[in-house]
Amino acid sequence: MALDSKIPNGPIADKWTNYKDHINLVNPANKRNLDVIIVGTGLAGGSAAATLAELGYNVKAFCFQDSPRRAHSIAAQGGINAAKNYQGDGDSTFRLFYDTVKGGDYRAREANVHRLAEVSTNIIDQCVAQGVPLAREYGGLLDNRSFGGALVSRTFYARGQTGQQLLLGAYSAMNRQIGRGKIKMYNRHEMLDLVIVNGKARGIIARNLITGEIERHSAHAVVIASGGYGNVFFLSTNAMGSNATAAWKIHKKGAFFANPCYTQIHPTCIPVSGDHQSKLTLMSESLRNDGRIWVPAKLEDAQAIREGKKKPTDLTEAERDYYLERRYPAFGNLVPRDVASRAAKERCDAGYGVNKTGEAVYLDFAAAIQRYGKEQVLIHHLDANDKELIIKLGTEVVSNKYGNLFQMYYKIVDEDPYKTPMMIYPAVHYTMGGTWVDYNLQTTIPGCFSIGESNFSDHGANRLGASALMQGLADGYFVLPYTIGDYLSPDIKMGPISTDTPEFAAAEKNVKDQIERFMNTNGTHSVDYFHRKLGKIMWDKVGMARNEKGLNEAIAEIAALREEFYKDVKIPGVANGFNQELEKATRVADFLELGELFAKDALHRNESCGGHFREEYQTPEGEAQRDDENFAYVAAWEYTGKPSDAVLHKEPLVFDNVKLVQRNYK
């Protein structure tokens, strides 16, 4: 099967406009006769549900949490990009497009990224109109901050809770439609299979997580908005429940899975503290605007700190190595995430790590507190020689900007980051790979769409900070509502779709069989036991740096672990009731397959790009070495029975508007 990305013809700046002018529309009366299922209620799913309902479609939205407001988009901290150019610092649609393609290490689809940049400004207008309290300046206008990989300030934010506020905005738009009866909300429901009728996605099988009932739900189209698969690593910044099941189930039913190896390891997370660790906590990238990252310049100082004999504040400026500022003078602490993460790993591997495990670097706000304090003293005509006052006022400014993050750090680590530098280390955060979609955000299954983090299309091999929120809302508010209409227009006379068909029965049986098998295995180990093991394989061999030998080992080890899982997992409780262990089992079963495909994809991509770093392919300075001649394509995998037999399809990436160069942040 040849992949057709359906990218419209014409100059890049006109593609989306021309395309919208010529697609098929569904008239308002007919929209009432069409049902759409949306799985996931984060920024992408929530905004899509609200918008489609508003347009007139009957929406059925599903989430596994107890309310759509809890989707993990809520945890995004730093901000959302938009090419408003309110700061007049040279930003434009083209520049946001260019930065995103470059930041993605030239592995994203140009047309999709340009469309994203085009609609970015609408998102901000929309959110303000919805009452999202974005940060403002004293003049009453919106404030911006800068983020990694950009030379302009285009990031809008709501303190350190931007994701929360944007999600609550989408949630409020959903609530309006739920109140009107246009969205039927299914909380505490998990999609466990896709139903295909005559080659088209026509429904899902879902488990009611309270009663355990297996339910059939039909629709004229199914939208997957279930987020990323970072929890394949067990430890990540994802929520505990974040899972790949919906995306993986559609993959097994025919949707190609693209670039699974593109995973973002975020540079600023709170380091692992012990074996009991259940998840990792992100410290927003926005902190790198004001925080300086360093390790001791001398090995003996690093060792003394690890042993508790020295404190970071004991070290003079000369005894510190601000390695990002040293290696990348142009971007300094604001290099993209993949670059910052690898640089931290390099220093720690070389023995300069600063916590007990040797896997942590410092993020220091002392200089920022001084700088802001001095500014405040001048603004308020106070004593410029009062050192304590400067620290007090500077601390207030930093607290205003990042207060909730500092508090979060303090509660977890029990150290005051206003007084001593934070310790941070990279952690799995976001997955750029995902379901392959065409320009319409449709997967290779007709009628099955994939939006937000669950698709692959906009971030290439590395996502820039503050772009995930942008993409989720762009897909849901402004892209899918157009493209899905084009798909649905032939279905207006179809009427409701029956769930009383052999296709629904077969899918339901499939789900029931899997659950029965889990309940009857009666093995010796809990689901977490297997999930932790999988996570360790992934982190050690498919993590920040990968090589051929390790990847081959990982593939074999994951396959063996999967076999052991099915033989030896133990699920207590009952299937026909609330059972969190059973929920975990169905998710981990899918991670155990996805992990293998992930490693297979990483093994086949004989280059380094963005978040995918193969040790065999690096420049003499240790930077990622791309191979554009052989690998400038999207790797879209087709499921044929098991992950090891997945068949590779290539979508060549054509760059007409951006010149491919080695990324340079020096």
Binding site: S67, G131, R136, G179, G241, G577, F578
Partner: protein, 248 residues
């Protein structure tokens, strides 16, 4: 650390439920409270028991999914945190810890420590929104300047995570702080003023329908709120409600 846990066990909504005592050892101060429960559940399962069900998701204090009434306090003894951010360093070796669900007539128990908080969603359906279409064809985001102070106050109200600690803490099981936070957020913004009258009337009516109690100004909700939502919001909602009632 060695601890005695007294945990509410209830098979399902129909079951009567009871407190059950357990012993646990090997707990470290750096563990979060929920990690302690993870370890406890793993231990319980290895002995053939059924794990304790509890709600949790983001484990960084923002999703509002975790609950738990610990030693008589919503989200436990620490201040300004959710249960997932509570760490075992707040407890001592040998302590007895009582763990119950968030109790309120409007929050029925689903299983063990898991409750149904859908009543909160239904209150939001009644008016927790501004009726703009999501077409994006609205005015420029900077067309209406908003005083920074108002925007900041709106943000402070909007920081509510909908966990329900306010209800669980209140002797009347009142949801006033939760409702007031949303009413305030919109009341403080020019975009929200247009529908302010209907919003406050509809949300309060739904709150009463759901069976939440009245507010008697004890202020317990503010103390236990993990996000520091201020009582001022309740005062603001009362003003909004009064002026809406007079108009209505």
């Amino acid at each position: 650390m060695k601890l005695t846990l007294k945990i509410w066990r209830q098979k399902n909504a129909q079951d009567k439920g009871a407190m059950v005592d357990y012993q646990i050892d090997g707990i470290e101060p750096d563990m979060s409270f929920l990690e302690m429960l993870d370890v406890f559940n793993q231990d319980l399962m290895s002995k053939g028991g059924e794990p304790v069900a509890f709600d949790h998701d983001c484990r960084e204090g923002i999703c509002g999914m975790c609950s738990l009434y610990i030693n008589g306090e919503a989200h436990g003894p620490d201040r300004g945190v959710t249960t997932c951010q509570l760490h075992m360093r707040m407890f001592k070796d040998g302590d007895t810890i009582t763990i119950e669900p968030f109790r309120a007539a409007a929050f029925p128990v689903i299983k063990d420590l898991v409750v149904n908080r859908s009543a909160f969603d239904r209150i939001q359906h009644a008016g927790g929104f501004i009726s703009v279409n999501t077409s994006g064809n609205t005015i420029d985001a900077n067309a209406i300047p908003i005083k920074k102070e108002d925007a900041d106050n709106a943000f402070d109200a909007a920081a509510c995570i909908g966990c329900g600690a306010c209800v669980a803490t209140c002797k009347n099981s009142s949801a006033m702080l939760f409702v007031a936070a949303k009413v305030s957020q919109y009341a403080l913004l020019p975009q929200g003023r247009l529908e302010a009258t209907d919003r406050v009337l509809n949300m309060v009516a739904q709150m009463d329908t759901e069976g939440f109690g009245n507010c008697t100004n004890t202020g317990a909700c503010e103390v236990e709120c993990p996000k520091g939502i201020s009582l001022e919001n309740i005062a603001r909602m009362n003003r909004e409600y009064l002026s809406a009632s007079l108009k209505g």
